[in-house]
Amino acid sequence: MNVTVLGLCGALLVGIGVFAFLWQRHLLRRVLAFNVIGSGIFLYLGAAGARGGAADPVPHALIITGIVVALSASALAVALVLAHLHASSATRLPEDEP
């Protein structure tokens, strides 16, 4: 039961993250939303793996790998956003500028 709550929480986090990812135009906010989606997916997967009582270590390993990958992507994205800011003084993509 508790696990189900956490799993549904993960699903909800994915929804919130997706909403923010699509809605926000500031690029750093998109990076942030990307991380919310990621952790939501991980929680969802972890909760699914814990339903049998004893925790399944395979999802844990996958999630640790996933966290590292997400951090790598975030770091590159943030660096890109900053470089873009220096090059064009904009915090959004050209098509999202008012």
Binding site: R25, R30, E95
Partner: protein, 538 residues
Amino acid sequence: MIEGPILPLLSLVWPLLLGVVASLPPMQARAISLLPLAPLPALAAAWAGVRGETVVPDLLLGAVLSAGAEGALLFGMTAVLWFAAGIYALVYLRDTRRPAVFAGFWCLTFAGNLGVFVAADVATFYVSFAAVSLAAYALVVADGTDEALRAGRIYLVLAVLGEACLLLGLILGAGAAGSLSLPEVRAALVGEPVAAVLLIVAFGVKVGLVPLHVWLPLAHPAAPTPASAVLSGAIVKAGVIGFILLVPEVPWLVPAGLATAFLGAVLGLTQRHPKAILGYSTVSQMGLIVALLGAGDAGPAAYHAMHHGLAKGALFLSVGLVAAAAGRWRWLALGTVALAAMSVAGVPLTGGALAKAAGKGALEPWAATAVTVSGATTTLILGWFLLCLARQPGKGRPSLLLTVPTLALALAAIVVPWWLWQGWTGLPADYPLHADTVWSSAWPVGLGLAVLALVALRPVSHVPAGDIVIWVERTVRDLRHWFLRTALERSGKVRAPRPRAGRAGVVAEVAERRLLRWGWSGTAMVLAALAIAGTLLG
């Protein structure tokens, strides 16, 4: 790896290799000198007789080369004609703009041209046909003039249309036959009228069946003379072999072909440029051949096509020869022209007379009469050609490399039909000497000459070469303007629109700007995931 005789395969591969050699830096400047070498294996193959089946399982979808009697005959004619034109080109194209490009495409076109006659499977035939059709574009535009580029554009549009029809037709046929073998596809086509019509359009473009003929009178004057010769003599025969190999007996081809024969001749009379006149003459002659094919008689059609290839090749080459000849050389040149022209016109005892005599037997009486009468129109148009050609200025003494191939082709056009007569037609050896045979080929010539005298006194008014294409071009231009105007009025938002792809392009550009926005695309993405899941639930 390769099963069966190797010579036919070598005939195709050798020119391709030469084409590659021509493009190598040390050869580029002298690439034209390679042209006469390209047909050597093909000549050997033709001399030895193209027999047997060559199978190359690793090539394409498993290539099979094998020629029927008609294919072998046209294969030989093609090799001879390209050989003669190649020698002619040594002098004629000495100073061409891009020798390597020209030589490369010459070799590619030639390989394709041979390929259509020996192909026995769908893929090889299509590849060869496409090679000969599309590579010939480079020969048409070789001079790079505006006129050549326009002719090339029209040629390309029709060639691509033909390719598309051919591909569809072949695919439908291969599907119906469940096989790639051409004879089986042909048999299956009887029950596939759509595929048959597609193939008729594809080959009709190539042979210049009215109204698909418009490229011929434009491309021939634009191309360099040796290229015009092979274009008219050999390349259009790819369409003939296509009809022979693939199109089942279709009765309405007889009237369609005869109409083309007469229309071509009449339109030719409206021209002044000698090569344009010859182009229309080819349209006319190919109409006769199509009529023979429509009657279901491939043998005489191939025989006629062989003769026409040699004679028309001589006529085209002679245009360059006359321009290079003055004084008594000019008389020699014009004499050669007259010889070849007489043969095409069917003056008794020439190759042309034999070709007509061989073909009439299979036709219904009215059609046979029409073929006889066409002798008059052919005489008329070729006489007109001679008059126009004689008016062209000439200078100097022609090189032997121009004279010999032209003369040889003209003589071959007369001699070769005699040589092959009995073996090919099965008619008695003296049949062409019978009085009624002679008479039926003599009176139309006489009639034609008489009318020619009238025309020479009062020339027919000039129609631009390509006739209906002028009207088509104008309509397309108007439609395009109309499209763009309406499209622009509708979309005030679009900045600096470029006049390409018309309204569809404007719509696409607006869509692209929407899709570039992550809010839109990302939402679409998530919804697509759910939608796909939805389709999978059912």
